[in-house]
Amino acid sequence: MNQYPWWKNALIGLVIVLGLIYALPNVYGDNPAVEISGSHGATAGARTLVRVKDWLARAHLPYLRATRTDKGIQVRFARAGVQLRARDLIAQKLGSHDHTALALAPAAPRWLRALGARPMYLGLDLRGGVHFLLKVDMHAALHKALVEDTRTLRRALRHAHIRYREARLGKTGALTLRFRNKTQTRLAKRLIAQRFQDLRVLSTGANRLRATMTRAAILAKRRYALSQNLTALRRRVNELGVAAPVIQQEGDSRIVVELPGVEDIARAKEILGRTATLEIHMVDDKDNLARALAGDVPPGTRLYYNRHDQPILLYRRVLYSGDDITNASTGVDSQDGQPVVNITLNGRGAAINARVTRHNVGKRMAVVYVEIRSHLKRTSNGVPVRGPDGRRIRITQKIEHVITAPVIREALGGSFQITGIGSIRQARNLALLLRAGALAAPVSIIAERTVGPSLGAANIARGFYATLIGFVAIALFMAIYYRAFGLMAATALAINVVLLVAVLSVLQATLTLPGIAGIALTVGMAIDANVLIFERIREELRNKNTPQASIATGFDKALGTIVDSNMTTLIAGLALFWLGSGSVRGFAVTLCLGILTSLFSAILVTRAFVNAYYGRRRRLARLAI
């Protein structure tokens, strides 16, 4: 007879129940929320909660629930628009002591959340927000590394008492060294081979030596630049306080940043794209400025300008840089009320700072702001210029200016203040950039997509209704055409959708509008398996087989065909996943997962239903098919 062993039925039942549980949070969805945490990790207390409730009530901003959580205070809202206005209000009222962030709070009941069940992660086309595709300027990253290498090499040569005439970094990325004689050249070559694994000697002449970075080193530098940029971008995005952002690597030199619900795109862009850092130099006050302005810059120094284009001569050597800054916050100078940035240094920075300032009291120290911008090289009428390899040429520009050059009054330690910044807003941006760390290499936005929240909601509604109506039509058609079997298939199809939604929720795969199309398509194609099976059963019945035998043979014979035909679609889906990006990848994910869940539901679930309904009857005269 057609019977599944009890454990098989139990297993199928278990999978369905799990599917229902993990698909359930999607019914509740997410609430936009504002989270308030105290400064320096302290939790915002009950008093703050009362005040926040009061502010919101006075501003007529309706909220669903305001509660204390283990992280601080969470206020839930019905709509994202209210959430944004409330965040601005709360941030303004609280001042700089507490940190406010946007968040998405699952609206599902507590027991569901305890099981780890979360709603699907909606893509930007459904949620609204900004999508950036950033390109990391690897050329600049490598150049930076080479400059660093040149500097260390010079130092090493001096230490080893190898006299060199010149150590210069060429435009092609090759280092050229010139020496007085053959012996020095040979010694230098040995030094590079022993101590500089990153460098490879290209050619040696009698008094010349050319070296460049090894392929492995280039690869390592690229990887470092990318991962360092990812980390820095992640920190910056955190500072922006966006709910559920995505910062992902794509390919070997690109980064995807998705900021759901962000409205102030200009600020987001400004913060993301800037590669600002600070460099601390000593000021050359030995009356060399006039000489330098006349064109005779003393060795070891360089001319810089401040914000007002006044020249200042600094020593080239960087004492320490933004990398050594652990914290930066804004404040107001107690004497003149001007904005200041308070800086805290790490151990290395603090040690250097202490040593340098102790020996140089009375001298000046300059804080230099360094930003790297890159843009395409263009002809006068705006057409990008292409290099010999057909690629567009990118110009990297280093913008440097001296923020301030105060006189060292006493030995400093691990923290100090920068003054003379300008407006409060500039001070805040500077602090944010310093806090979030510098980018290892400049980035540029090469694609950008903004979706308004109302469009996102409309997309969800459209996708949902299109799928629902298609589903109902298919279910009706099946029930009419295959009667009892059709009804069972329609139920299995519904289970298929539930399972697919559950899997997508558990994996937290991004659901996009094409992803919804993928679900719809899966529904259409999943039914194919049932049609194959039912047509086989009808055929067996036509060949005068008994109903029970027809069921068994029908399922068996159709199985091979079902697997073969789904495998080809799976190949297409995997290729899409492999090559696609963004929304197309979303489609590929739902298509591939949908094929797997549909195999389960169309074969096992339908069979379990058929077994339960017909399986026990010994004298079965006819089937409702």
Binding site: I446, A447, G452, P514, M525, E535, G580
Partner: protein, 307 residues
């Protein structure tokens, strides 16, 4: 309920020359459309900026076009999108600063047309665009190769060749329809085309599976008769699946909104052509490639069986 109670096998293969000839004509027409009119590639592939604006009242594209032209945006293409109050503004990659351009246009509209809200902005840099086009072509090639390999492994090379030719025929016709009617071809449509590829092969495999089974089961009969029987016996399933999938896709076409329109259109055309192609193109090809019983049924008696 049953639509098809076919007693005798229908002689599909007798008309194979006619059906394949018609398909070939359609195929050539599609290629002609692609060559003459070309695909209307959208911003995903060409690069540029697209701004979707919602106006409070129905707004003619010509008005907005004139407004933009007065402010030095002569290259802007403006059209209604979905409803009469929604407008899509396309700007070619103006080089200089396509993103800043979008911001300026937003500001301009805010001043000149209060109440207009920008619903979405899309900027794709030129290098990303051409790369996506390359990746798309690569994906098509990869899928075609993957499917050929799978079918060769599971069936026989003749089946793989037949299936892949029929599938390419389906995909080209879908692309031809997009070229002929100048429907915007986006990344989402490309995804649909790849899904058509999968779907169309899926359909072919079902028929092929039956051909193989028939060869093993039916002791007599020519290749043509066996293929006819296979097609006839799967005809009911072919049409049912076709109807059901089409229901879903039509639902998307009519209810899915403008974003899914291209996707649904590609699928709609793809399902019709795919169904037809798998039955009336792939099978004759397999026959003409010289498929025989021996290719599928393993010889029984070998020397190892005898004592």
């Amino acid at each position: 309920m049953e639509f098809f109670r076919i007693q005798r096998d229908l002689p599909f293969m007798r008309y194979a020359r006619t059906t394949v000839f018609l398909s070939a004509l359609l195929f050539i027409a599609a290629i002609a459309a692609l060559v003459v009119r070309g695909l209307n590639l959208n911003v995903d592939f060409t690069g540029g900026t697209v701004i979707e604006v919602q106006f409070p009242v129905a707004t003619k594209p010509s008005v907005i076009r004139a407004l933009l032209a007065r402010h030095h945006y002569r290259h802007a293409r403006v059209e209604n999108y979905g409803t009469a109050s929604k407008v899509l503004i396309r700007l070619p990659t103006a080089g200089a600063n396509s993103k800043a351009l979008a911001v300026r246009i937003q500001r301009l509209l805010a001043v000149k047309r209060p109440g207009a809200t920008v619903r979405s902005v899309e900027y794709v840099g030129p290098e990303v665009g051409s790369e996506l086009a390359d990746q798309g072509a690569l994906a098509l090639l990869f899928v075609a190769l993957g499917i050929t390999a799978y079918l060769t492994l599971r069936f026989e090379w003749r089946f793989a060749v037949g299936a892949i030719i029929a599938t390419i025929h389906d995909v080209v016709i879908v692309l031809g329809v997009f070229a002929l009617f100048h429907v915007s071809f986006s990344l989402t449509v490309l995804a649909a085309v790849l899904a058509v590829l999968g779907y169309s092969v899926n359909d072919t495999v079902v028929v092929f599976d039956r051909i193989r089974e028939n060869f093993r089961r039916m002791r007599t009969g020519t290749t043509a008769e066996i293929i006819d029987s296979a097609i006839t016996r799967t005809l009911s399933r072919t049409i049912m699946t076709h109807i059901l999938t089409q229901i879903m896709v039509l639902s998307m076409l009519f209810l899915g909104g403008p974003v899914l329109f291209g996707f649904a259109l590609a699928m709609t055309v793809g399902i019709v052509v795919g169904t037809y192609g798998s039955v009336l193109v792939a099978s004759p090809l397999v026959m003409w490639l010289g498929l025989k019983r021996d290719d599928l049924v393993p010889r029984k008696a070998t020397s190892a069986d005898r004592p």
